[in-house]
Symmetry: C2
Subunit: 412 residues, 2 copies
């Protein structure tokens, strides 16, 4: 008969890195999506009305109808990712000004896996990750598992010297490992960096001699204005080649096609991709072969058309949200006018706390958003909030913003 | 004009954990699968002839034909995993003697992701992971990214004291964090632990007060004999509840249905699953919703039938391989007679080196296998090799083993 000693005390067995892993507000908020009477501006959720149902059904039927194709699509596959999909991405990157080949591309389970891989690749405990304030919450979650500290990138302000970054990082017990940013229609601010700002950032990264991680899941969804060159494209032009560039870019099919297949990619110098491929293999062997085949087929057949439909669809929603904010928000409230992406960033008067307000928003106004401070590595930004216009209908956007405006007016 | 300083020296920027990340033999060998004239006994690759093509096609058509189901299947989803799939797994675990509920289950991208998560959860640099010698190479790859050292579990030998494990771990600069093993039809040996051996292992884990990670991707594929109770089931019975158990089990649909969907699971006490769910969220947000729906539908409709077909199919191949080894291997060569799973483990006479022999095997005999030393954390086992009988036809098994036998005889 086995001994039945006291149960294991799990909390004492975890590695130190687990201490920083805490439940996030986004996670809790996603659960609200299931309550039908709540108008949710939370989440960065694409509108499923745009998922190309008939085309997806046809692609599956095609793949499942050809035994040889079917067998490969449901078998183990190479860690680098589907060759056809990587070839398509090479063509796409060329259009965005980045000349590369298949060995510069690794397929990931969405951009989130790319962020987690890069955090694991570069960060030791005490190292510094340079991020914008605010920045993408999922990136902070991915990086934080490696116990880094954060410092704020000089985008939008330039009073910090390169030496001050070095000193801060050394004082924290490590070195500055990379600059991370979402330069196009940023999550959460909706802001896009100009070419001049991108060149300044690159110059800063060269001076500090660190890599730049350019995360651009929304870049194709531009509703006004013209594309700004990718940071990676600018650096490739300056250095002559992706192999000499310090920029690693992340792309995703989640916002253009569907997040349900979990397909994104990393584009980087070959030596970096080779290391990341080993990490991919050790982490999950490979991404789903069938999912990569489906995305490759869709991308080849209708990427531009799908983008055009998304742009058409989301522009109307963004316009509705901006108009509703104009109509319903009291004086003293400010917000960004994103040229693309899924988000509007709202700044309330200083004395208001968007986290405290959220409870009333949900319980009284039946409206949800993400409190802005979640996106600040230092927990500041208490008077800010993120609104996404992608999922609700135009009518719900108008109703929801009217309710939110009334709630803010009442709180003033 | 931007400065064009010298390129970044990537190798100097990686975190220390990247040093242990090296290309594996399995990875290089998987590439051989593309050469049609090679008979490959490498890889643990299920036979695609068993993938239920018509049923999979029907499930996709069903899901894509119902807009509401379709929308959910292609949207972001919860990090824990599909509720219906987790419910099915709860029922499956009950049949295997583990009483649990949905909050004890996390869906992962195959078992490999579960291994990587558990390595990251428990291991700090210098900690000790206790593994069998030999053990699953993918587990070593997943764990090694966290810079542990390895010590050998006392399964099959019992001359080591518990204190010696504590002392070894302390000398390496950390503590013993867990015991990892594949108790059923192990990869690579094909060996199954008896109930007595499982009880001994549990007793050892209780004495050392460490968790046990039970990895059982092949458990359903038994060709002879009767099921042995899961280690987790034995511990739940001894402690009274999964919440009091020290065992974490890993399951997979890759070997029974298809690896192409990348769906596996972790079953553990709720507090452990809650932590792992945060890790899942930070790592890739969630597994593919559509893939989980497909597996859930297949499992509900035909898990037992699928298992029966697999057992029927692989038993014939295993028998063919054992018979061919009997016929063609020279004296002095030994091999395991696995009651299930995908592998036969071959031990050559001491003076032969299976890695050196592999080049001749591929170039002359056109036969591939995995050299056994890859599965030893300490790099021993030079005279061993792993054969998988799952993918080649019976005829190819006979031909390939005949060629391999001739090659070994020639090398003696």
């Amino acid at each position: 008969m086995p001994k039945t000693d006291s149960p294991l005390d799990w909390g004492t067995r975890y590695a130190g890195r687990m201490a920083g892993m805490k439940a996030s507000e986004i996670r809790e908020l996603l659960k609200l999506l299931d309550q039908p009477d709540i108008i949710s501006f939370a989440g960065g959720i694409p509108d499923p009305a745009l998922f190309p149902q008939e085309e997806i059904a046809n692609v599956y039927a095609q793949i499942c109808g050809d035994r040889k194709v079917f067998d490969a699509a449901f078998q183990y596959s190479v860690s680098e990712g589907d060759a056809g999909l990587r070839r398509w991405i090479v063509g796409y990157m060329a259009k965005r000004g980045v000349t590369c080949d298949m060995d510069n591309i690794l397929i990931t389970c969405g951009s989130q896996q790319g962020l987690e891989f890069l955090g694991r690749m570069f960060l030791s405990a005490g190292d510094t990750a340079l991020v914008e304030a605010p920045t993408y919450l999922g990136a902070l979650q991915a990086f934080s598992a490696m116990e880094p500290v954060y410092d704020t990138l000089p985008t939008g302000q330039s009073n910090r010297t390169v030496a001050s970054y070095r000193d801060n990082a050394a004082a924290a017990g490590g070195t500055a490992k990379f600059a991370y940013l979402v330069p196009d229609f940023a999550n959460p601010t909706g802001r896009t960096l100009s070419v001049a700002e991108r060149e300044e950032l690159l110059s800063f990264a060269r001076d500090l001699d660190i890599p730049v991680i350019e995360d651009s899941p929304y870049v194709a969804l531009r509703y006004d204005g013209v594309d700004v060159a990718m940071i990676q494209a600018l650096d490739c032009a300056a250095t002559g080649s992706i192999e000499a560039s310090r920029v690693i870019s992340l792309g995703s099919f989640s916002k253009v096609f569907t997040p349900g297949l979990r397909v994104g990619w990393i584009c980087a110098p070959k030596a970096v991709i080779a290391k990341l491929t080993l990490m991919k293999q050790a982490s999950d062997l490979s991404s789903s072969a069938i999912n990569q085949r489906v995305i490759a087929t869709l991308a080849e057949a209708r990427f531009d058309r799908q983008v055009a439909q998304g742009v058409e669809h989301y522009r109307v929603k963004r316009d509705a949200m901006l108009a509703a904010l104009d109509t319903h928000m009291p004086k003293g409230v400010q917000w960004t006018k994103a040229e693309g992406g899924l988000f509007v960033w709202v700044t309330l008067p200083d004395h208001l706390d968007a986290t405290a307000l959220l409870q009333d928003a949900i319980e009284q106004a039946r409206v949800a958003y993400v409190p802005g401070h979640a996106f600040f590595a230092d927990g500041s930004g208490r008077n800010t909030l993120r609104l996404s216009f992608s999922l609700p209908s135009v009518q719900m956007i108008e109703q929801g913003i009217a309710k939110l405006g009334a709630l803010v007016a009442q709180a003033l």
